[in-house]
């Protein structure tokens, strides 16, 4: 045995084991600074199918009053952004697609249906006089805040008009004393109060809300303004948090079973090289985890499937090479040169085989939608990382093991 090589082998094993443990296990829970970053796995973004959430595609339509233009789409986006921010979602995705589509993705919300209802509200506020004239609209609003009437304790929404709105409102109230002015939101009558006297200060109050939450939502909608064009929901995929948590737990369980099966199979069939390959697979997983974190990959359910499939591909690279090494050993080569020849000859097969899978993954990325894209992403990362680990890590480790002279018996290498 060569002790220097045995030692470096041991050192690598300890290092990788440590890296693997801090990646997945919560060992530093007591330590505040470290537990902020560790275990690494908790920092991976979960897609909406794993923590609940919604993916919506809105489509804008032309109406006689408002045509769809690039400006109105930008305006629409800004308004929806405002509303989404009001929902308190972390890292929402809001992007325009094509000329008249807007995609919104919200992950980690308790009630995805309610969120869609809120962000898709037209929120067109009107003050209408008895003779049916709209005197003031939501566009004249400067601010809207929920609050409680200090005297009655009633929940209300306080409106403040812009200077122009203030003037319009003052004129309208002056002209309609002792008459009713209806407050209408999205064609729904909210209130129909009688004007007692002209209101020149540009303030109005809507009351009659059941809860402060409800008032908050209306105030938020009014603040963000009315949608500039008519929108419909063309596609919606909403996942409740219960199903998300369920999917996450189940796929983790399934993944674990699959991985253990692979590890056992490799060990039983390939013996010592199998052990090395398993070890390389752990390194591979850590590398992939690092790439996910570095590239802020959002993990979806198909994404997990892609990762697991890429494990299969990573194992395959090793299988191809080990089979080759075995063949070279049978021709009577020494362990060292058999390993070298095996890697050299095996690599073209690995490369060509992975290239075609890579092509499909890329096609899938560009033409796929939603969570399917997550599958393409993890598969692509997996293929690239597996080629890297197979030709660098596994090869180097195998040579190190062979060089350490722990055993000379080629039987342990599967021959």
């Amino acid at each position: 045995m060569k002790w220097s090589k045995v030692l470096s082998l041991l050192l690598i094993i300890v290092l990788v084991a440590a890296a693997a443990v801090v990646s997945v296990a919560p060992v530093f829970e007591q330590n505040k600074t470290l537990s902020k970053y560790l275990p690494l796995i908790k920092d991976i973004n979960l897609g909406l199918d794993l923590q609940g959430g919604v993916h919506v595609v809105f489509e804008a339509h032309d109406t006689p009053e408002a045509k769809v233009t690039p400006e109105s789409m930008q305006q629409l986006k800004a308004i929806i952004e405002n509303r989404v921010n009001g929902l308190g979602v972390s890292e929402p995705i809001i992007q325009l697609q094509g000329d008249r589509r807007l995609i919104v993705e919200l992950a980690g919300i308790k009630d995805p249906e309610e969120a869609v209802r809120t962000i898709a509200k037209t929120a067109y506020l009107q003050f209408i006089t008895e003779d049916g004239k709209t005197v003031v609209t939501g566009a004249d609003l400067k601010d809207a805040r929920e609050g409680k009437d200090p005297n009655t304790g009633q929940t209300e929404v306080n409106l403040t008009f812009t200077p122009a709105g203030t003037k319009k409102f003052a004129d309208a109230t002056a002209a309609n004393v002792q008459k009713r002015i209806a407050i209408v939101l999205d064609n729904q009558l909210l209130q129909n109060p009688v004007v007692n006297e002209p209101i020149p200060n540009g303030k109005a109050v809507i009351n009659g809300y059941a809860s402060l939450d409800e008032a908050h939502k209306i105030a938020m909608l009014l603040r963000s303004g009315a949608l500039p064009v008519k929108v419909t929901v063309e596609e919606k995929r909403s996942v409740g948090p219960a199903l998300g948590a369920d999917s996450l737990a189940k796929s983790q369980h399934a993944g674990l079973v699959g991985i253990v099966a692979i590890l056992v199979f490799m060990l039983v069939y390939y013996r010592l090289p199998g052990l090395v390959a398993n070890f390389a697979l752990i390194i591979y997983s850590i590398i992939v985890l690092g790439v996910y974190l570095g590239m802020h990959v959002t993990m979806t359910l198909p994404g997990i499937a892609g990762f697991l499939l890429s494990l299969g591909i990573a194992v395959d690279a090793n299988v191809i090479i080990f089979e080759r090494v075995k063949e070279e050993l049978r021709t009577g080569k020494t362990l060292r040169s058999a390993i070298d020849a095996g890697f050299k000859r095996g690599f073209t097969a690995v490369f060509d085989a992975n290239a075609t899978t890579l092509i499909t993954a890329i096609v899938l990325y560009f033409l796929g939608t939603g969570p399917i894209r997550g599958f393409a992403v993890t598969l692509t990362i997996g293929i690239l990382a597996s080629m890297f680990t197979a030709i660098t890590m596994t090869r180097w480790l195998l040579q190190l093991v062979a060089g350490a002279n722990i055993t000379k018996n080629p039987k342990y290498f599967g021959a």
């Binding site: 359910l301 075609t356 092509i359």
Partner: protein, 294 residues
């Protein structure tokens, strides 16, 4: 040890025999297209108490939405309800109506795809399949040769026909995830084929004197057989684990992958390589004939 190439007629017959029922079914009843392609709404609901399917149906009918509806049990308390594309107001009404009639329930998920979107998704799916296939042929032609590309694509066609055929026979619902599965199967099956072709390429370079093409290909298949089997096994482990333990949302995706990966391994050994031999032999025969003619 049996001869893969000499027995190739048998493999061809087996391959055709397994895909024919599926092809007939595809012509007769087609695929059971899900809302991803037809447009519509799916709601997955979990009731707090166990429910009878007929009660759920009654409750859904009582809401009074027009159009066809289908109700499918997916667990003792879980139900899938499919309808035409509902807007937010209608789907809220449906869920509320069910709760009023049947007691408290949790809305696990809702998928809504508008009819226009459905057509777009279907178009994109076909486009993806087409582009991927063309890119494969190009890649194989560059790295290997055109005839191998053709042989590989025929093997792929076999795999996709088998999977879609089985899905048609069993009328399992097809969605965008199914298309992703087909694409992955294509990538995966080609992967298997290429490992064998790579060995053929290498053996051709150091061809033994007097070795026929049949012998050479047969030898290449045997040399790569352990790898072919081991790789399929490891991938199968993962797929089976995901199929049985991964939850309902991903089941059809995994089923398609399972069938496709198994078929891909088969077709790489039993179809792609023998087909290439036949294509090659056809070429030599033609050459001999034209040589005789001149």
């Amino acid at each position: 040890m049996f001869h893969f190439i000499k027995l190739r007629k048998i493999w061809y017959i087996i391959s055709i025999a397994v895909i024919i029922p599926g092809i007939i079914s595809l012509f007769m009843q087609g695929l059971n297209l899900g809302i991803d392609f037809t447009g519509g709404t799916i709601m997955e609901v979990r009731f707090d108490k166990a429910m009878e399917a007929q009660d759920v149906r009654k409750a859904v009918d009582s809401v009074g939405l027009e159009g066809s509806k289908s109700i499918q049990q997916s667990g003792d308390r879980n139900y899938l309800i499919r309808t035409r594309a509902l807007d937010q107001e209608e789907s809220d009404k449906l869920f509320k109506g069910m709760q009023d009639k049947l007691g408290k329930a949790t809305l696990l998920r809702t998928d809504l795809v508008g009819p226009v979107m459905g057509k777009e998704l279907a178009y994109k799916a076909l486009l993806a399949l087409f582009i991927a296939s063309v890119l494969m042929v190009i890649y194989i032609t560059i790295r290997f040769e055109f005839k191998q590309g053709i042989a590989a694509i025929i093997a792929l066609l076999h795999d996709t026909l088998l999977v879609t055929g089985i899905f048609s026979l069993l009328q399992i619902e097809v969605d965008t995830a199914f298309v992703a599965a087909i694409l992955t199967i294509i990538g995966y099956s080609i992967n298997d084929t290429i490992v064998i072709f790579d060995r053929i390429r290498e053996n051709l370079r150091m061809r033994k004197k007097g070795e026929s093409l049949e012998e050479l290909v047969n030898r290449s298949i045997w040399q790569t057989l352990a790898r072919s089997i081991n790789t399929v096994l490891t991938v199968m482990f993962v797929l089976l684990a995901m199929y049985f333990l991964g939850g309902s949302t991903i089941k059809t995706f995994m089923l398609a992958m399972l069938i496709g990966v198994a078929s891909g391994a088969y077709s790489s050994i039993f179809n792609a390589s023998p087909l290439w031999v036949d294509l090659k032999l056809l070429e030599t025969r033609k050459r001999v004939q034209s040589a005789k003619a001149s």
